[in-house]
């Protein structure tokens, strides 16, 4: 089995799984944020800020994986 098509396949699979993880994580985060905002509408501003910060962290980790997959794909 030659390595180049396998490497490209690995890069594609890696990016897909990374997006899967990010989607699950941010979905859970958004669900609990919505619930908290519905419970206490006057705290919505603080919850919104915290939600954005947490989403940025999760997305950052997923983007690490995407960058590694990009590097794999062009080498």
């Amino acid at each position: 089995m030659n390595p180049i098509p396998l490497g490209l396949l690995g890069a594609g699979l890696g990016a897909g799984i990374a997006v899967l993880g990010a989607g699950l994580g941010i979905g859970k985060l958004a669900a609990s944020a919505m619930e908290a905002m519905a419970r206490q509408p006057e705290a919505a501003g603080g919850i919104r800020t915290a939600m954005i910060i947490a989403a940025a962290f999760i997305e950052g980790v997923a983007l690490f994986a995407c960058v590694i997959c990009m590097l794999m794909a062009v080498k």
């Binding site: 501003g45 800020t49 954005i52 910060i53 940025a56 962290f57 997305e59 950052g60 980790v61 983007l63 690490f64 995407c66 960058v67 990009m70 590097l71 062009v74 080498k75």
Partner: protein, 370 residues
């Protein structure tokens, strides 16, 4: 410079060399706008025929850095090449062609070409002006003029309620101050001192991102070097502010992370790594968010050219409505992401500064009792 090696490797795989760089770029005009497209832009300047294999590398080559300033393939000017080398000294040429004709430095084929000395050793310092740098300057100048107009309107009449441009600028600044900076940084003195830095950071990143979204523009923050520089600045701001606010002993104590002293063997490496990982995450987050949106946009519009070349005119015609519709959707998403990522960079830097200062700040200020 990983971006440059990326694009260089993509282009090398397709057998491009420097002579065809301009023809490849010229044959792909109008690709950078998502809303407009033509099906006839393939062979206008071509010295060689474009096959369907060359479409995507040529399109994605737009994302990198260039030595000439181009806007929508209108070649504005050739940018100067400024090189400093330990052996050869300081050289500056007015363009790549004049550098090649002098024969002191040669280029290794790539996209953009990498400068080497005559014995194929890399140069010490390549300070040349490239197109991304020009776009950063344009962004800086635009932001400066917008903010200066708003500030002048405020100075003329401080008591009047703001309206128009001044209102918009003040709304943004107040939103950053009251939501991002002051709640996160516990020491008021540090927050007031760092406030201009955060405003400059936010407007600079916003300007660079938005300029990249203008059809025909290049995203300066889509280069790893630019976001890396912003993150290195943030790293120094975070640590120097922490040392200034709480003293160097407290900063060193923070490296323990609040655990008892006998856990220091595990905690200190973890804390040091986390100190370096935070700016690294900032870099990668901004870079990947900007570049990913543009890659998807270029690929979607490049599909039209690809189908045009591989299945004739009708192929391109059929794929156009789908491609344009998706491109419009991705364009609006990219616009949202551009604004959001600028805000997230600023708020995360503020959170890191707040974490580095910790809650010692209040006790420390009272203890000094100014």
């Amino acid at each position: 410079m990983a971006k440059e090696t990326l694009t260089k490797i993509i282009a090398e795989n397709q057998g491009h060399n420097q002579n065809n760089q301009n023809t490849g770029a010229a044959s792909e005009q109008n690709v950078q706008s998502s809303g407009e497209h033509t099906n006839t832009a393939t062979n206008e300047h071509g010295k060689k025929e474009m096959t369907s294999q060359d479409v995507f590398p040529a399109v994605l080559g737009h994302l990198g850095d260039h030595r000439e300033l181009t806007f929508f393939d209108i070649h504005i000017c050739n940018l100067p090449v400024i090189i400093y080398d330990k052996k050869e000294g300081f050289h500056s040429y007015s363009s790549m062609e004049s550098m090649e004709s002098k024969q002191t430095f040669t280029t290794v084929h790539g996209h953009p070409p990498i400068i080497r000395k005559s014995d194929m050793q890399p140069v010490s310092l390549d300070l040349s002006i490239t197109s991304l740098l020009c776009f950063e300057w344009i962004a800086g100048f635009l932001i400066f003029s917008v903010l200066a107009i708003a500030a002048r309107k405020y100075k003329k009449n401080p008591k009047k309620a703001p309206s128009g441009l001044q209102n918009a600028v003040e709304a943004l600044i107040l939103y950053i101050r009251d939501d991002a900076i002051f709640p996160n940084i516990s020491s008021k003195r540090a927050a007031k001192g760092l406030f201009p830095y955060f405003i400059a950071l936010f407007f600079f990143i916003l300007g660079c991102n938005l300029l990249g979204l203008v059809p025909g523009g290049h995203t300066a923050t889509g280069a790893l070097a630019v976001t890396g520089a912003l993150a290195i600045t943030a790293f120094f701001v975070i640590n120097i502010t922490a040392i200034r606010e709480t003293g160097i002993k407290n900063w060193l104590k923070h490296l323990l992370g609040g655990a008892p002293w006998w856990l220091c063997f595990i905690m200190i490496p973890i804390e040091i790594i986390s100190m370096f990982v935070k700016p690294f995450a900032l870099t990668i987050r901004l870079f990947a968010n900007m570049t990913a949106g543009h890659v998807v946009l270029f690929s979607l519009v490049g599909l039209i050219f690809f189908f045009n070349l591989s299945s004739g005119f009708t192929g391109g015609l059929i794929i156009s409505p789908i491609s344009v519709a998706f491109s419009l959707f991705m364009y609006s998403l990219d616009l949202f992401v551009a604004i959001l990522q600028a805000y997230i960079f600023v708020i995360l830097t503020a959170v890191f500064v707040g974490l580095a200062i910790g809650d010692h700040a209040e006790e420390h200020e009272e203890a000094h009792s100014h």
